[in-house]
């Protein structure tokens, strides 16, 4: 990593360019995979509802960012991950999964095609594992540059996002869902994609790190009373209501994309690392399936057992929370395939007690993207 460009605290912990902004806003800071991040400003439920109701601004500058360049960059990425980027236009954006030869997951990634290179956004919690994998598999003629600390990322999310950003930005109308463009925002050079991790309309805005504080303030000023700063706590509850997978928790070294419900991002018509193994798994059938779970009472959390009607273990919760919009415990996890159908009755074991629930179709929260 380009470590000389990273801000660090006294203990060596990484700080985003917005660290002092978070402190002045009274954020509760936590360590998140080597980064000092804001988990909440006011409270998670209030922040969550602000994003669903109007708009919220997130600092997600800790997300791992890579530039991939060179004559063979396309071939490298096309073979590296499961989705097909052959028809990706300039400024197009694609979700994909990096697998090992045996079909297990290294990480899930987003690939954005720029004019002369590819820009990758990957997970902080899986950074070491992914970077080692890339180091071992990057061929001659391809350069992978870590630009995490050079580029800040703000996520503006919520139904009011378009209005808030439009009033301080060059035209946004032609930036369609899951595509990007260069735009000046309050005079600052940015790259904007219409995308996010909340299920709401919104943007992810990339700028030079040194411009991040000015950019944050401009967006907050534009939003006025209709925008709140949002921490990682609400980021997690928002993505859970949509059933979005979080790499490192819901998918990890022992999972494959088929059991994780990610076959939509696996393109069998092309070659990629892990294809043979995944074809074999597809033929034999998966051993477990990813499912959404809703409880009558209680909150499912990472590592809790999922049980069938006679108390036998049928799976495990990978992440969960209390849904602020539904007022119910919701969780994601893996169950034996015969239990994965919606409306199947299951139980979750919480501190030796079984709480009743059902398997539900994802997303938990309907009527969104």
């Amino acid at each position: 990593m380009n470590s000389e460009t990273c801000n660090r605290g006294e203990t060596g912990i990484l700080r985003t360019p917005l660290y002092s902004t978070h402190i002045s806003l009274g954020a509760r800071m936590i360590e998140f995979h080597g980064w000092e991040m804001s988990v909440e400003y006011s409270d998670i439920i209030g922040e969550h509802k602000a994003v669903r109701g109007s708009a919220g601004l997130f600092d997600v500058s800790h997300m791992n960012k890579l530039n991939v360049r060179g004559d063979r960059a396309f071939d490298f990425l096309q073979n590296l991950s499961t989705n097909d980027i052959s028809k990706l236009p300039i400024n197009g954006m694609k979700y994909s999964v990096v697998c090992r030869d045996d079909g297990t997951i290294v990480d899930d990634i987003v690939i954005i095609r720029r004019e002369d290179h590819y820009f990758l956004v990957t997970n902080t919690s899986r950074k070491e594992i992914l970077m080692k994998w890339l180091e071992d598999h990057t061929p001659e003629g391809v350069g992978v540059e870590d630009v995490t600390c050079d580029i800040a990322t703000l996520a503006l999310q919520g139904p009011g996002s378009n209005d808030i950003l439009s009033s301080i930005s060059e035209d946004l109308d032609e930036i369609r869902f899951w595509s990007g463009a260069n735009r000046k925002v309050s005079g600052i050079d940015t790259y904007i994609t219409r995308s996010g991790y909340t299920g709401e309309d919104g943007f992810e805005i990339y700028s030079r790190s040194e411009d991040a504080m000015h950019l944050w303030q401009s967006i907050m000023d534009s939003g006025g009373k209709d925008i709140k700063p949002i921490g990682l706590g609400a980021r997690d509850t928002l993505r859970l209501e949509m059933g979005y997978i979080l790499s490192g928790l819901d998918i990890s070294d022992e999972n494959n994309p088929l059991e994780a419900g990610l076959e939509w991002a696996v393109k069998w018509s092309k070659d990629f690392t892990g294809k043979d193994a995944l074809l074999k798994i597809k033929e034999q059938g998966v051993e477990k399936k990813f499912a959404g779970i809703k409880l009558e009472r209680g909150i499912p959390r990472h590592g809790y057992d999922i049980v069938g009607s006679s108390g036998e273990k049928i799976g495990v919760v990978t992440s969960g929370t209390n849904s602020p919009m539904l007022g119910a415990g919701i969780g994601l996890g893996y169950v034996k395939p015969e239990y994965a159908l919606p409306d199947t009755k299951i139980g979750i074991v919480i501190r030796n007690k079984t709480y009743n629930g059902i398997v539900v179709k994802l997303p938990f929260l309907e009527g969104r993207k």
Partner: protein, 134 residues
Amino acid sequence: MNGSKMEVRDGLYYSEEHEWARIEDNIAVIGITDYAQKELKNVVFVELPKVGDKLTVQKDLGYVESTKAVNAVLSPVSGEVIEVNSKLEESPELVNTDPYGEGWMVKVKMSNKSELSELFNGREYSELMDHLVK
């Protein structure tokens, strides 16, 4: 904390782990303090013992869950549970809105009243607060 004021009520006993007990004869009414609820924020689930359960001082009485985390509530005294606040099942947020009132958790018939001498009074707990929120 943001330096916001923590309420400490006179006449209650307090544990270092931020539980309170109000003593009525041989009965202790138990809850968590204003400081504890402010630290937790958004209490969304409370798991309480059953009437008749025996509690041991400093051992788990129940659990309060915020959106993000699970926190054990430790019993400030030993004894038998004679009543639980069933309102918290439907309205766990009472722990946030009224920690010393409607947010109470259990009533316990104490088996060893001398345990109270290990707890803080309001003034001592306030001093602990001053130290914590600095």
